[in-house]
């Protein structure tokens, strides 16, 4: 089997900010190399990446999934679109039967059921948890529901049709499901293992959280009253983050399957998924307290590696915290990486089969120029990576 891995590394500085907070409202932290660091959880950055796909339209809606409990309504809407005579309760009923046949248990939420007793229209059943389905899977389930509309219960009792429902929920996954995985608690046979591994981002430098004490003035205050309208504190920190993610490209290819359109190369779905991920992961940003801190930044340096051996995180280059004695942390962090990468790759082999790209900004990242092919823009980087991935996939195993 052809092994293809892609790893993405980024150095990104954020000013005072609180991207991802814990239950006390303080930015998340971790100890590494014996000193406290800023941390942004993997799930926060995965959500930012998924949101970025949609917002920047990196992928067509048909290639994206929706994570929702309102799956019955989603299928029913499509049923009505296919056959306008099937609307309202009928559409909901056959959609619900089909969704359940696919293994996704639904129920009418109790709160809504109570409301219905008082003359409200009958509420739609919902899944008990968030279900991640692709647009194509919702379309296919709706078509199956329409096929069996005459007597949906009898139709779905037939083994052939029941199996078909399960199969539809488990094939033609959307790009984001294939990348980030899907977990269905009571139908584990249709789980999808994520092809992407995103590490918690941690700062290359020592970081201790700080607390901002603020007062807000009441504009309408009179001379008779004194003091602030309100007081409070906001915790924050600032950091240069090392971010890392690895894409298991051969696994992604297996989940996505080959291209379904005759007029495109069979590697196209994987190439588009990889391009969207690299672009989305690099350029996205968790939005925690973004209006308070306005921490809109982009990475100073991005390194992408395409390998035939296991991906490698370079976080150990920052186990001893960067001190930033020359002002800022990016310069020293870049120097560390430029020294560490060839060192670890020599020690563990296979530099020959590894392709490397670099996207970097400013003189502080100068030392990284030598670690790979330089790209001038994120677009150029993403296109080059996508093309190389497609070429590797084309190669016989």
């Amino acid at each position: 089997m052809n092994r293809i891995f892609l790893d993405v590394h980024a150095l990104q500085t954020v000013p005072p900010s609180n991207l991802n907070r814990d239950d006390t409202g303080a930015p998340k932290t971790a100890v590494y190399g014996g000193v406290p660091r800023a941390r942004v959880s993997s799930q926060a950055w995965k959500r930012a990446t998924r949101t970025y796909f949609k917002r920047e339209q990196l992928l067509d809606t048909s290639e994206l999934g929706v994570r929702t409990k309102k799956i019955v309504e989603a299928v029913a809407d499509r049923v009505t679109a296919l056959d306008p005579s099937l609307a309202g309760e009928t559409a909901l009923r056959i959609a619900d039967a089909t969704v359940n046949a696919a293994g996704l248990k639904t129920e009418v939420p109790k709160r809504k059921a109570d409301a219905a007793k008082e003359g409200e229209p009958a509420p739609a059943p919902e899944a008990k948890y968030l279900v991640f389905l692709s647009a194509r899977q919702l379309d296919a389930l709706a078509r199956l529901a329409v096929d069996g509309m005459a007597d949906i219960t009898a139709f779905l009792k037939e083994k052939k049709n029941k199996d078909r429902a399960r199969e539809l929920a488990d094939s033609r996954h959307s790009v984001d499901i294939a990348l980030f995985g899907r977990m269905v608690a009571d139908a584990p046979d249709i789980n999808v293992d994520a092809a992407v591994q995103v590490a918690h981002a941690i700062s290359v430098n020592r970081v201790e959280n700080e607390s901002d004490y603020f007062t807000a003035v009441d504009d309408e205050i009179t001379d008779a009253e004194t003091g602030a309208g309100m007081i409070g504190t906001v915790d924050f920190n600032s950091a240069t983050l090392y971010r890392y993610a690895a894409v298991n490209v051969h696994q992604l290819a297996a989940t996505l399957g080959q291209g379904l359109r005759e007029d495109e190369p069979r590697t196209d779905p994987v190439r588009r998924a990889v391009e969207a991920f690299v672009h989305g992961f690099v350029a996205s940003l968790p939005t925690g307290k973004i209006n308070t801190f306005g921490h809109h930044t982009l990475p100073d340096a991005v390194i992408v590696k395409l390998r035939t051996t296991r991906p490698v995180s370079f976080v150990a280059a920052f186990e001893a915290p960067v001190r930033g004695e020359t002002g800022g942390h990016v310069r020293e962090a870049s120097e560390r990486l430029a020294e560490y990468i060839p060192d670890i790759e020599r020690a563990y082999g296979d530099e020959d089969s590894t392709l490397t790209w670099v996207l970097r900004v400013g003189p502080n990242t100068q030392k990284l120029a030598g670690v790979g092919t330089e790209s001038q823009s994120i677009g150029e980087l993403v296109a080059a990576v996508g093309q190389a991935v497609a070429q590797r996939l084309e190669k016989p195993a």
């Binding site: 959880s41 995103v198 696994q251 995180s313």
Partner: protein, 240 residues
């Protein structure tokens, strides 16, 4: 018998043996099911393939605590895709800054396959949880001949330079090994439910496994023989 040694190091790791629902705890050392699961994934054994899992699960397992790390509690929120409402909160626990050496004893052919698989894995290895990639390649070495405890007495101390500096001026360091009990120890040993029987998504099953704690004395490596990929050794000398 042959022994395969692994280095489990990374900023975060999480090895649950009894975690359920919204509270996901971690043991203080890697679990057998976690390590076997990682090896099975690297070798491309699918989740439900219990027959191919069985020989891996039968390997004798031990783990040496080279750098214990600290416990980290992570607070996790999720939001509804459409309404934006909060979903149940969950707590996840991690070990931060820890380093372990795990060892597996058994058939040489099988261990050779696993050793190779770690270099070119089918599914990407991680340290107990997908968001915890290793900071260094996991495979340490394959010893053709030897017993698990003997090998764990020989493998050099893998702790980070900053951690080793906390124990200056000694020529030996005492580390703890957690291993499976011998037959004579069966009744006095600790038990933990982390002997994997099946990783099938529908019915994940684990049996009880014995665990005995043994101290081992490891020679402290001279400063010059620190791992060569640690270029910062000189930087922190006085501040550590």
């Amino acid at each position: 018998m042959s022994v395969l040694t692994l280095r489990l190091a990374g900023p975060l790791q999480s090895w649950g043996a009894s975690a359920r629902f919204t509270r996901r705890t971690t043991e203080s050392a890697p679990t057998k099911s976690g390590v076997i699961g990682m090896l099975a994934a690297a070798a491309g054994i699918e989740r439900g393939d219990d027959d191919r899992l069985a020989p891996l699960a039968a390997l004798k397992f031990g783990v040496r605590i080279d750098q214990p790390g600290t416990r980290l509690r992570d607070f996790h929120t999720a939001h509804h895709g459409i309404s934006g409402k909060s979903m149940p909160l969950s707590e996840r626990f991690y070990l931060a800054d820890a380093v372990f050496v795990a060892a597996l004893e058994g058939d040489r052919t099988l261990l050779t396959t696993l050793h190779t698989a770690l270099g070119t894995p089918v599914y990407t290895p991680f340290l107990g949880r997908r968001s915890c990639p290793p900071s260094l390649p996991i495979e340490l070495s394959l010893h053709d001949e030897g017993a698990l405890m003997d090998i764990l007495r020989q493998v050099p101390w893998q702790a980070s330079a900053w951690y080793r500096r906390q124990y200056p001026g000694r020529d030996h360091i005492e580390l703890t090994v957690l291993r499976e009990a011998d037959e004579v120890e069966q009744h006095t040993a600790d038990v933990q439910r982390d002997q994997p029987l099946s990783f099938a998504a529908e019915h994940r099953r684990h049996a009880l496994r014995t665990r005995v704690s043994d101290p081992v004395r490891i020679p402290r490596p001279p400063a010059r023989q620190l791992p060569r990929h640690d270029p910062f050794d000189a930087l922190d000398e006085e501040s550590a």
